[in-house]
């Protein structure tokens, strides 16, 4: 059975490569792995493409092969293998799981990552890899929750299959406990796990930067809204998603820096010579439309902290 699956996967990879054969004439090819349809990664990718086009306009043809695997180990692994089989000049990944999947394949193709939470804590050890990531002070989200309502129990939505999501869970748990709050882990690995949100009723919920959680954000928000539970997030989504507050690192900066790193590598620089970078600047968004749904009123002296207010 296993052998059959492997054969089928190899065949699919081969067919995929053949189907894209005419494109092999491009001068440089970049393979991109962007998990699911996460708007945060989407914004990063848009900035990456725009910056790359700006740098290579009229100089060299750049072709981008975009992979959007579903957030699970097999899909990430398949996406990485496809790009390696395609023999691209460079791979770009967004988020920790996609990055780890490419590194796991031990390919010689250089890798540039972006959207990685605290890259220096991600355990990336490879000469062929560089990139940029971000850090958001998670304690700030707790502080803002506390300024809005009494929070004794904090739910943390994470995904056990995503390394960076779990690191954020551990950090947030430690911060919550330091603030005398009980942290409740809500591990989402499948759609069925969303039911956990109905049984555990925390005072507020923090959503980690999990691709899986953001793929089902609408469902998560629908459950939490019924219970009038406010949410905080570190990935900006569409305002309609209904997250009460979002503290995030602007994605376009990471996309632009990833493009700058990619350009250097395509021009012959070794990834080992390009220093990885962690962005620490953030923006804070309060959603007043959602606040009204939740019967929460933002004091004026709190509202002035926001970079943006959704009304």
């Amino acid at each position: 059975m296993k052998a059959l699956r492997l054969l089928l996967r190899t065949l699919l990879t081969f067919l995929f490569v053949i189907s894209l054969a005419p494109e092999l004439h491009a001068e440089k090819r970049i393979g991109v792995i962007m998990t699911g349809d996460v708007p945060y990664y989407g914004a990063m990718q848009d900035a990456f493409v725009a910056e790359l086009n700006r740098r290579f306009a009229g100089v060299e043809k750049i072709e981008i092969i975009l992979q959007r695997p579903f957030p699970d180990s097999i899909s990430w692994s398949n996406a990485a293998r496809k790009l390696i089989a395609f023999d691209v000049d460079l791979i770009v990944t967004y988020g920790s799981p996609a990055t780890q999947a490419v590194i796991h394949e031990k390919s010689r193709i250089p890798l540039v990552y972006a959207g990685l939470y605290e890259p220096d804590q991600a355990g990336i050890v490879s000469k062929n890899v560089t990139g940029c990531g971000f850090k958001v002070p998670l304690s700030s989200i707790i502080r803002y929750f506390k300024r809005l309502k009494t929070v004794n129990t904090l739910g943390i939505v994470c995904s056990g299959i995503e390394e960076d999501s779990m690191r954020q869970y551990e950090t947030m748990k430690a911060v919550a406990e330091q603030q005398n709050m009980k942290a409740v882990k809500i591990d989402i690995r499948s759609r069925a796990d969303l039911d956990k949100l109905k049984t555990k009723k925390p005072d507020a919920v923090f959503i980690t930067g999990s691709s899986l959680a953001h793929l089902w954000l609408e469902d998560i928000m629908s459950i939490l809204r019924k219970e009038k539970i406010p949410t905080g997030d570190i990935f900006p989504d569409f305002p309609e998603a209904g997250v009460l507050m979002t503290l995030f690192q602007p994605p376009h900066q990471q996309g632009e820096m990833a493009a700058e790193m990619a350009a250097q590598i395509l021009l012959g620089e070794k990834p080992a010579n390009i220093t990885a970078y962690t962005f620490r600047d953030t923006e804070l968004v309060f959603n007043l439309v959602e606040a009204r749904h939740l019967d929460i009123s933002f004091p004026i002296h709190l509202l002035i902290e926001a970079t943006k207010v959704i009304e």
Binding site: K135, V136, P137, S139, S140, R143, V175, Q178, Q179, L247, Q249, R280, D281, T282, E283, L284, H301, I304, E305, T307
Partner: protein, 299 residues
Amino acid sequence: MNRPGRTLRLILCLLICLVTTAAMPVAAPAQTEELLIGIEPEHNIFDQMERYRYLAGYLSEQLGVEVKLTIMSRYGEVIKRFKSLRLDGAFLTSYTATMGINELQLEPVVNPVNPNGESTSQGYIFVRKDSGIRDVKDMRGKSIVFVDPATMEGYLFPLAYLERHGVTDINEFFNRFYFSGSHVSAIFAVLDGRADIGAAKNTVFNRLVANDPSIAQELDIIARSPKVPEITLCIRNEIDRDLREKLAEVLLHMDKTSEGRKVLERFKALGFVKSRKADFIGIEEMEQEARTAMGNTEK
């Protein structure tokens, strides 16, 4: 015969002098019926007005003069507002008090003593511990948040400090700088990562840390200014001297009476101490030191 005529002339002269003198206006001090006192806005002006309301009531009762309060729109407009609102005095922070003393010849009267027993404050320059910023050279290309151009702790001190370390043009040195409008906001901006470096008043910083000790674990203070009077009640020198002296006396002694102590508790102070012009010399020196950087910031 001469003598009665001379006497008559003398009486006539005296009468003329008396009448003339009576008709001349006398430069007597005008009777003050009310005192309009300005307050610089803090982070939460509703709480602030409530605190000052009790004090104004107490002063009205003790002085026999109605003491009215008004919030000045923002820090930077203090001198302008002092004139336009025709204020008789104001509770001013250290830098605006210095400006008021120099530009409007205001008299510093008293400083409130906060519940920690201090009447002074100092400026802090701080960063997130995980920012990697340890000194001025690490600050190049980063973002900095100030409080307001009229604050010593949140603007004048950091500019003087930067200038002392060779930074005269903050436009060129920093990637971005902005004014948060309050000390609390400047602290939260750095905590959140919305700014890399911040400057604010130590009393506000310490109050936030007392409420949430994790703040001290996340922030590093990399510079401290000298201590200066935090708040000073300054009065126009045209106000009747007796009234000024009585006002100072009432405030300086209000911690000696039970009624005064009740008001102080609501005002969130232990008492008042006497203020002197000499207390503000350090700020004038700081202003001299920061002059080039200030000029470049306003470009």
